[in-house]
Amino acid sequence: MIPIIIDIVLRTGDIALAAVALSAGYSLVKFPNIALMQYATVGPFLAYLFASWGAPLVAAALAACIAVGLIAVLLNITVFDRLLKSGSAIAMIGSLAAGMLFTAALLVTAGPDSRHFDFPVEAPLNVFGSPVTGPQLLAVAISLAAFVLLAALLFLTDIGRCMRATATNPDLARATGIDARLVVRVIIFLSGVLAALGGIGIAVKGELNILMGQDLMLPVFAAAILGGLGNPMGAIFGALVIATAETLAATLNFGPLIGKAFLFIPANYITAASFLILVLALLFRPHGLFVNEVKRV
């Protein structure tokens, strides 16, 4: 049981940061930004680059996150804001195209090979009888710290109150003197930082390559939609649901259900679990698990 729970927590950490970033961005800029998945790829590559110049890992990661946040703001001003005037679907296609340009840039500069962050090889720690490596613990700690900071920012500070107000009713927020442009920029910056951080979390545990973002896309969308797009804290819960479904699909023995000794879902179908949850969620709960309202989306 403990190993399953640990797997679920690790996988939640993988998905949750990017899902929170997607949801937070959507709360103010109403389109699903596919380029976020590439922010999660560019982030660790930048961190790797800074680290290879001799920066300590924490400083390199921090600098990479800030750089990606700035790229996100810049792209939003120059591209997505303008595309959004023609509709959210057009903006989504634009974000997809932007993501392709990122992949092309990485392909030319970094190449298609996988890389690793340089960690000294250490014996795994023993957590309730299960082996957990140091980088894995680090990744979970990064995610938890990011969630606590984001929640504190959203619910305890003035700019957080402005963000929530603008997300709920932009016109009213503007009428009360909130600088909506600034609020949007802050949240886009945050979503870039969070996505980059999520990518770095995945990369320190395993490897980084240019397909990371692509592999992340559907699980992250599934998590964000389950939590209700635009609800960053719900996205964490959505990520938990997706991670649980994937882990159980991978580890449970379905044999007894049909009277056989063993029946495992083929490993290659496990990634399809999140796609399936996504389709089911869109069919029955397009506003997320927490919303009962019947409304067109």
Binding site: L96, A97, L101, L107, N268
Partner: protein, 296 residues
């Protein structure tokens, strides 16, 4: 060299059919389909499965049609209560699920190795003349699709499609059956996509899941956006332009002595850059949609 030109022309014509199909959904009805390649895959796998079960190409075409009708109806059903961007994500994930199935049901689909050795449709002794005949068939299918779609969009049905795109709530208030419209448009668009897949399978003689990556859908999207959303001629011209540029990439690589990653990167830049560039600077595309002049 002329064989290479024939190859590019055949592929461009096959993609033009896919672009016409996507343009009917996205350009006219406003349905943002990110799973277009799945419709194409129904056609390719229909042909491949019929071949691997020793059935003739006719059975393969019929099988492709059955598959594509099922997928198109599923897409239309999903579109019932989803906004455009959500529907895009839903169709994208269905496309990925179908690709996962094609990759993993090794006993049926041959898995990642795919199914090879599918015979050419026209065996005339010399491979070149067979390919010429196939190109003529593809061209005829493309022209037939073009005319059928033009008739469709210039009819009253076409007007209701544009109403569905622009003002869905108004359309519902006028008493249009939006679900029925979506269903019919998906079916109409699915047929040429499957036909294109069927001809593609018999042209390339190989079918595999690598042909069904989501990125292929976005190649078709680029063709439609570059040509002009809501313009049949635009979709065809977009397909020709993009395929010609793709065909030039390897030559450019050789001419400048660039590494092989350049080809993949350049394709991405062409698609991504084409999409963003046109969406930002010329959203109406090369050949803008003609507004008006249609009497239902």
């Amino acid at each position: 060299m002329s064989e290479f030109a024939l190859h590019v022309a055949t592929i461009a014509a096959l993609y033009a059919m896919l672009a016409l199909s996507l343009n009917l959904q996205a350009g006219f009805a406003g349905l943002i389909n990110f799973g277009q390649i799945a419709l194409f895959g129904c056609g390719t796998y229909g042909a491949a499965l019929a071949f691997s079960h020793a059935l003739g190409p006719l059975a393969g075409f019929a099988l492709g049609l059955v598959l594509v009708v099922l997928v198109a109806l599923l897409f239309a059903r999903l579109g019932r209560n989803l906004g455009a961007d959500y529907w895009g994500i839903a169709t994208l994930s269905i496309g990925e699920i179908l690709r996962t199935i094609a990759t993993n049901e090794i006993d049926i689909t041959g898995g990642a190795q795919g199914i090879g050795g599918i015979p050419a449709l026209f065996d005339t002794g010399s491979p070149l003349s067979g390919r010429l005949i196939l190109f003529a068939v593809v061209l005829a299918a493309l022209i037939a699709t073009w005319f059928a779609f033009r008739r469709l969009t210039q009819s009253k049905f076409g007007l209701s499609l544009r109403l569905l795109r622009e003002e869905p709530q108004l359309a519902a208030a006028f008493g249009y059956d939006l679900d029925g419209l979506r269903r019919r448009i998906m079916l109409a668009a699915a047929l040429p996509a499957a036909l294109s897949g069927f001809l593609f399978a018999h042209y390339l003689t190989f079918v595999g899941p690598d042909q069904l990556f989501a990125s292929e859908t976005f190649v078709i999207w680029t063709m439609v956006v570059v040509g002009g959303l809501g313009s049949h001629a635009g979709a065809v011209i977009g397909a020709i332009v993009v395929q010609c540029l793709f065909a030039l990439v390897p030559f450019a690589k050789d001419a400048f002595g660039l590494p092989s990653e350049f080809v993949a990167a350049m394709r991405l830049v062409l698609i991504g850059g084409g999409l963003i560039g046109f969406l930002l600077l010329r959203p109406q595309g090369l050949i803008p949609e003609r507004i008006g002049g249609v009497r239902g």
